[in-house]
């Protein structure tokens, strides 16, 4: 069971990472609080469900949804967010909160109130036998594989390529990067579109496990913010470690606490306590990190 739960927490952590990576880049490089990040996740999942329905194939729909969401993200950046960079954080929060409300209503108008169901690709509906005789859902393993692959890709992109260099330069000192002649506007659009594509990937991969519905972005957005605060704003590595930590605490809390409480309390009280304590644990973790390392675990700015 421990192995199974570890895989569960890894799977959840990696999906959180996809969201947090985009968020941390936008926040770190552009100094922009983007609450609408969760809406891009929702839009990505809806586009995925639509394309999967239209093409009949999960794997064809996936790149389509990624590209489409990246375009939506780029359009959002060019049309609205660009004007907000110079404003203070409160204005950004208010404006992007408005984007959440608009996005939710738009999705309601286009796709309706009912949540959409997305099925995993046909080869991945059953369990697989892991070494050690443990059965595990093959689709969740696929999620883990995709998550690890994207994490490696991002690592390569950020540390080994020119774009990555610009991103790191922007994150650690924006003014200096501009002074050195970096085309910051284009960089911002590219980063934002990349963040949107990562959102769409998370939305598309989680769609078959959760449900594609209005408001799905808000719940997970809060966790993504916790992740980047723990990891250090602007740091991909921090987002990765933070996401795995949050995934671990959340899943283990949900799995182990009710068992521990069941010995002490009635089943109902134990089931009430378990999830609430485990969600508290995430914030305790965040508070502890903030107390010991106010810049997060891997601060991008020296």
């Amino acid at each position: 069971m421990l192995l199974e739960q570890s895989l569960n927490s890894l799977q959840f952590g990696l999906m959180l990472f996809l969201l947090a990576a985009g968020l941390t880049l936008v926040f770190g490089i552009m100094d922009m609080i983007n609450l609408a990040h969760g809406s891009l996740y929702m839009v990505g999942a809806y586009l995925m469900a639509t394309f999967a329905e239209a093409t009949g194939s999960f794997w064809i729909a996936l790149p389509l949804a990624l590209v489409a969401t990246a375009l939506v993200g780029a359009a959002l950046e060019v049309s609205l967010l660009r004007k907000l960079y110079e404003r203070d954080h409160l204005t950004q929060v208010l404006a992007t909160f408005a984007v959440i409300l608009i996005a939710n209503e738009m999705v309601r108008i286009i796709w309706g109130n009912q949540s959409l169901m997305l099925n995993p690709p046909s080869g991945l509906t059953g369990p697989v036998q892991l070494p050690g005789g443990v059965q595990y859902a093959s689709y969740r393993l696929a999620i883990i594989a995709v998550g690890v692959f994207v994490a490696l890709l991002l690592y390569f992109l950020v540390t080994k390529t020119k774009v990555g260099m610009l991103v790191r330069a922007g994150a650690s000192n924006r003014e200096m990067a501009v002074a050195m002649g970096v085309n910051i506007r284009r960089l911002f659009t590219v980063v934002f579109a990349l963040g949107a594509a990562l959102c769409a990937l998370a939305g598309a991969m989680l769609g078959p496990i959760l449900a594609v519905q209005v408001g799905m972005g808000e719940n997970i957005l809060i966790l993504a913010f916790v992740v980047i605060v723990i990891g250090g704003i602007g740091s991909i590595r921090g987002a990765f470690v933070g996401a795995l930590l949050v995934g671990l605490v959340d899943t283990m809390g949900r799995a182990l606490l009710p068992i521990a409480f069941a010995k002490m309390f009635s089943p109902q009280a134990a089931s009430n306590l378990g999830p609430s304590i485990s969600s508290i644990l995430i914030y305790v973790l965040m508070a502890a990190v903030l107390f010991l390392r106010p810049q997060g675990l891997f601060p991008a700015r020296g």
Binding site: M1, Q114, T125, G126, T251, R254, Q268, S271, N272
Partner: protein, 390 residues
């Protein structure tokens, strides 16, 4: 210009007042969005079908239905109930899907002095000690399905059972009902967050506990995800799954498909029940909506027929509390419901049969619930004895 519009407004107002005496205005509070919204839609479609077949008139009165979506938020449900009663001035209410919304909205409905006909949720707290002449249920007492499922699990000789249900009033009614019917050892009782969608942590625990049977009451989107993930985790080969009909009817079959075949459940109605009213209902529903009806659709349909019969019996005088209550209680004998013969217990909950069903393919290759036996005959709500009402 101003005078003209004022005159028009006054005329409109007057027209409303005149109509109110011979028009039925129904406040329909339901959960129509989110992962659990499909249940609300099923009930509503069943209700609308009966209304349409009656030519838009229930009890012979032109009927207007005001819909409101509580989004499975009890606080919203309470506010909408208030709005339906105070602003829209509805004559009676129906529609609520979830028990937490029902319990939140019920004091408001009571204070508004309107009748409420339950097409679904009938919480023990309202049907038992808290019974009220203005509350009648056209569906089932909350524990009915689960008690039947408990009886079935007992008849299969399972040594123990593992229970999983959402943490809300109907979830607790579910485990309480199952335990009464089953009477055996409960290996664990797990309550998940209402509308939880990822069950990976719970499934790992179930695998570790190795129960003889698993009883899962997870309606709507929760059930869709639970059963998909249960199958994906390979647990369907390890643990027999027993469910109430809410977790295995068409709303879930449409989403999950083949892996549902062979699952046993209990319900008060089945697609293939052998009576004329049912054949008429099923044919009309399939023609109207191009899909197979579920238990929820039957409940909505029967609710509309019940209102129709009772309103007709009192000739529209539903303000007369005693008279209308009496008409409602007598109504089941006066119309044919797709579920067959039923009557009311004194607490306003149905006394009816509960069937054992299995998911199998019909002759067109569609996956449907087939009745294979009767688990409880003329079952009376266990909590009716707590009701002091006569």
């Amino acid at each position: 210009m101003k005078t003209k519009s004022a005159v028009l407004a006054a005329a409109a107002l007057f027209a409303c007042n005149v109509q109110a005496a011979n028009e039925l205005k129904i406040g329909y509070l339901s959960t129509l969005s989110g992962p659990a919204g499909a249940i609300g839609v099923e009930i509503r479609d069943g209700f609308n079908l009966a209304l349409k077949m009656a030519g838009g008139k229930l009890g012979g009165l032109p009927t207007e239905v005001v819909f409101a979506d509580d989004t499975l938020n009890p606080e919203t449900g309470k506010q909408l109930a208030e709005r339906l009663i105070k602003r829209d001035r509805v004559n009676l209410m129906t529609g609520v899907v979830f028990s937490n919304v029902m319990l939140a909205a019920w004091p408001t409905i009571q204070a508004g002095n309107v009748f409420y006909i339950a097409p679904n949720s009938t919480p023990t707290r309202i049907s038992g000690e808290g019974c009220n002449p203005r509350f009648v249920s056209a569906s089932w007492p909350n524990e009915g399905y689960h008690e039947a499922a408990g009886h079935y699990a007992k008849s299969k000789g399972y040594k123990n059972a593992y229970l999983i249900a959402p943490n809300y009033p109907a979830g607790k009614d579910a485990t309480s009902g199952f335990k009464r019917g089953f009477g055996g050892t409960i290996s664990a009782e797990v309550y998940t967050k209402l509308n939880q969608l990822d069950y990976s942590a719970e499934l790992a625990q179930i695998r570790a506990a190795k129960p003889a049977a698993l009883y899962a009451f997870l309606p709507g989107g929760m059930g869709i995800n639970f059963i998909k993930q249960f199958v994906a985790a390979g647990l369907s080969f390890e643990v027999p799954l027993v469910v109430p009909g809410f977790v295995s009817d068409q709303d879930i079959v449409r989403a999950v498909g083949e892996p549902m075949l062979g699952i046993f459940d209990t319900a008060h109605w089945s697609y293939d029940l052998d009576n004329d009213a049912n054949r008429k209902f099923v044919a009309a529903f399939e023609k109207e909506y191009n899909r197979i009806p579920s238990v929820f659709a039957e409940q909505g349909y029967t609710t509309a027929l019940l209102i129709d019969t009772a309103v007709r019996a009192v000739k529209g005088k539903i303000e007369d509390e005693k008279g209308f209550h009496k008409a409602l209680m007598a109504a089941p004998a006066r119309f044919k419901s797709p579920r067959g013969d039923w009557k009311f217990a004194h607490n306003g909950t149905p006394v009816q049969d509960y069937y054992l069903r299995v998911l199998a393919k019909d002759n067109q290759g569609r996956i449907v619930n087939k009745k294979i036996g009767t688990v409880m005959n003329d079952h009376v709500d266990f909590w009716a004895k707590e009701c002091k009402m006569k």
